[in-house]
Assembly symmetry: C2
Homo-oligomer: 507 residues x 2
């Protein structure tokens, strides 16, 4: 949908509005009545979305003085404050700046059943930030791709996305800014910076056009609003929201769930990743311990270098129950500076976490420059426990391979950091031996629960899920390392050595 | 406990350690064995605290190079990562700076059953920030008072608090800094700023001594650690933690809960606050509507002025079910700029929120400079629904009057803002009328639930709770306004007028 059309030919949307006699010529009374009835309908829809557990995202973008604030104001008049959040995007904080560009928006996505309204969003941020970049054309294209991924992931996980761009001409903008300057209440808001942006209107227009075109997708389409007239703007926004939401609510109520699109699975590497439980050659415990202590000393040194060069690292552990994740992590961190690493123990999501996209709680804990984040279990729960225990649907976990690969790629490319993924492999017999040992030790028996025995019965289902996971998510950028862990000491040495090798490549 | 004693006479604690033969002369093997046994005991205690739902706070403060990081490192060796959080306090972010001094620490308090470890804390921040203040002596005293309040509130709500100060002499500090400078891995950490602080050691000492003395309380005592020897430091910290925690766990397991101290209730103002349901003189609906529209226009103007002068405002609504809070808030905000206010709808706390001090979820949403936060129900739930429905104990809600007054005072004095508190009063008959109207209206019947009818049956109990609340929490700094709300239009005009009057006093 090329942007220039807004000014030239009226869109179908606009024609429809024209027919409804709700345009610039509508009289005050008629307008008030129409608006009031639209507000009532939107209020009803909000409650329906809440009952259906559907998250909704509304982005309002546009030129300065195009009426973004006024539009937000009018939308929320219809809404129950219990069910929406409004986000006015300011300059990123230090923490937000240290993370990748979309991190702070990931944290603000709406939970199930709620509406998230963004008065300006990742679009304004992308354009504002990149305009100062000499190679902005290339980097804006990169941002558009990442935004499309982000929105597709949200849409694939049931979010309804609206994006409005409020358009006014340069002359109209000038007029409105001057009007604000004349009002003593608002004059101080019209800063020299805003006038400066205004002067560059003609240079900015094609960039915005291009960016809108690149991010106009079937899962998150743009609605362009000719924002010359305030009433027209409001009615068009209401109309668009209501039309789409009514369709979605009717669809959900009819029980017909849209079929997710088939996607090509990544090429299987099944045969390239061997899972073995024991190393090729035996090493004595004493030898391993001595090696480990040397490696730990090197780890501390490496940590300082990563910290100094602001390179973040993710180390994640997956593996069979009792494969030795805890002990392994303990040795990994034993000599590290505690202010530069943190362990993220991952359990089943809480009720609150479950209201959001399943990746959000992990992205939230991603490390920034120089920090090491160690995940004890991870997002791979989606394709392991959630798949086997049927906590999500098959399309959900099938799609997750892509979503995870994309998330990891985003982290690595944007941060310059690394992701190291360990699968701790033990044999079924070794697991039994360790379960029994734990059950008999009064200091360790708290570690073994009914769940562990139940999971063990599903060994073969998990085995298949692990094979698929290793095959489909071992990427060049974030490969899996299978760690033979029947021998705990070998396992500890191998993980330390792998982290050191990877870190040294990054330094 | 004057600070200088650390250097002169050995404390009882130290004598005890001496007896245990765990001092500087302990040999390596003996030390390793003792440490390993202490770690095991602390691990067991951590699980006990988790099962007992007791939150624990550990603050480690001290001079630069006194071994804070090393101590934290050694403590967490004993702990299950699932059960603790480590907070290394950096410079405050922009958002944190805009809030009152303790706001960011409120957000980081440990939830029930978990341990929060602070490597430096509000103490370092207070001293660092105030040293640049010309009138630091007075302001440090103010900070000490607020810290004592903060810690008392946490302790009163079951938190166990440890505070360690690691002490080394100026000569020792010099020696350690030089040692770090000689190591290429750590040299870059010894900045000119750190040497500068070192040069002011002698000036800083009495300030720290004084601050420690002022904040050494029975609910949050300081433990001073002569940190010359690393082994001694670790053992003393472990020993202190284990001794106190074992006592607390034994006490909790014995079922004997410590009796909360009696406190003087604030003087009752029962007779000064009249609750009436109707205004003295009748006004027509048309008159009210006209007045309201004028006041709304003034409200927008006031919002801009508050925003410009960075004065935050809290407006909170409490009242009987169906007293008209929602409609009232709608009129309050109808003409406001949506980017400068937000509504916080308060429901029962979530499972996660319930793990924390009950005030935390409200403090989290407090406004900063220029914002208006409107609470639809509030922290007064503690002394209303939680009292009547027995969701907390009587000592809990009796103590809450103080805690709330203190919190409100902290907000007002630190931000220069205002708190406006509305109690919307209607008669029992009027409530019945409105309940029935709602039940009959298909668009409104979702608003009325079984709970509403149940609450109505407890009208008298709530009535008593409201009287106590108005009497005990109507302070000069944050008085209650009772709003006669049988007439909705009168109610809306009165709340708007009250907000305008208060705001004008603040401007």
């Amino acid at each position: 949908m090329p942007y220039e059309h807004v000014n030239n030919t009226p869109s179908r949307e606009q024609q429809m509005l024209d027919k409804l006699d709700l345009t610039k010529t509508a009289d005050e009374k008629e307008y008030a009545e129409t608006l009031s009835s639209l507000q009532e309908r939107l209020g009803v829809l909000q409650r329906a979305l809440r009952d259906l557990n559907i998250p909704t995202l509304i982005v309002i973008e546009g030129w300065n003085a195009s009426g973004i604030t006024m539009s937000v104001h009018e939308i929320i008049q219809a809404l129950d404050p219990r069910g929406y959040s409004l986000h006015a995007i300011e300059r990123p904080t230090r923490e937000e700046k240290d993370h990748q560009f979309l991190w702070r928006f990931w944290l603000r996505i709406p939970p199930r059943g709620r509406i998230g309204i963004f008065a300006r969003s990742w679009y304004s941020r992308a354009i504002t930030e990149e305009m100062q970049n000499p190679s902005w054309q290339k980097s804006l294209k990169g941002r558009a791709n990442r935004i499309n991924r982000f929105e597709r992931q949200l849409a694939d996980n049931d979010t309804i996305i609206f994006k409005f761009f409020l358009h006014i001409s340069k002359a109209q903008q000038k007029q409105r800014l001057e009007q604000r300057e004349r009002n003593p209440l608002t004059a101080w808001l019209v800063t020299p910076a805003i006038w400066n942006v205004h002067r560059h209107y003609d240079d900015t227009l094609p960039i915005i056009e291009d960016f809108i075109e690149k991010t106009d997708t079937d899962y998150a389409p743009w609605t362009l609003v000719e924002a010359t007239d305030q009433k027209f703007t409001i009615l068009k926004i209401y109309h668009t929201l209501i039309k789409t939401l009514e369709k979605r609510v009717a669809l959900a109520n009819s029980g017909k769930v849209k079929k997710p699109k088939e996607k090509d699975l990544p090429k299987s590497r099944k045969n390239t990743i061997q899972r073995r439980t024991s190393p090729d050659s035996a090493v004595t415990r004493e030898e391993s311990q001595q090696t480990m202590m040397n490696l730990q000393a090197e780890m501390l040194e490496t940590q300082y270098l990563l910290f100094k060069r602001k390179i973040p690292l993710i180390i994640l552990y997956e593996g069979w129950d009792a494969a030795g994740k805890g002990g392994n992590i303990k040795r990994m961190t034993q000599h590290l500076n505690p202010l530069g690493y943190y362990v993220v123990p991952v359990s089943a999501p809480t009720t609150n976490e479950n209201q959001f996209h399943y990746l959000r709680r992990f992205i939230k804990r991603f490390p920034t420059g120089g920090d090491i984040a160690i995940f004890d279990r991870s997002w791979y729960g989606r394709v392991l426990v959630e798949r086997v225990e049927r906590f999500c649907t098959e399309p959900d976990w099938q799609r997750a391979y892509f979503e995870i690969n994309e998330m990891e790629e985003d982290f690595v490319t944007s941060s310059g950091g690394g992701i190291i993924k360990f699968w701790l492999e033990i044999s079924k017999d070794e697991q039994l031996k360790r379960f029994n040992q734990r059950a008999e030790d009064p200091l360790k028996k708290y570690k073994i629960t009914e769940d562990d025995w139940r999971n063990r019965e599903k060994w073969e289902l998990y085995d298949e899920a692990v094979d698929d996971m290793l095959a489909r998510t071992s990427t060049d950028i974030a490969p899996w390392t299978v760690v033979e862990s029947d021998d705990k000491w070998f396992s500890r040495v191998k993980t330390l050595q792998t982290v050191l090798d990877t870190a040294q490549r990054l330094l």
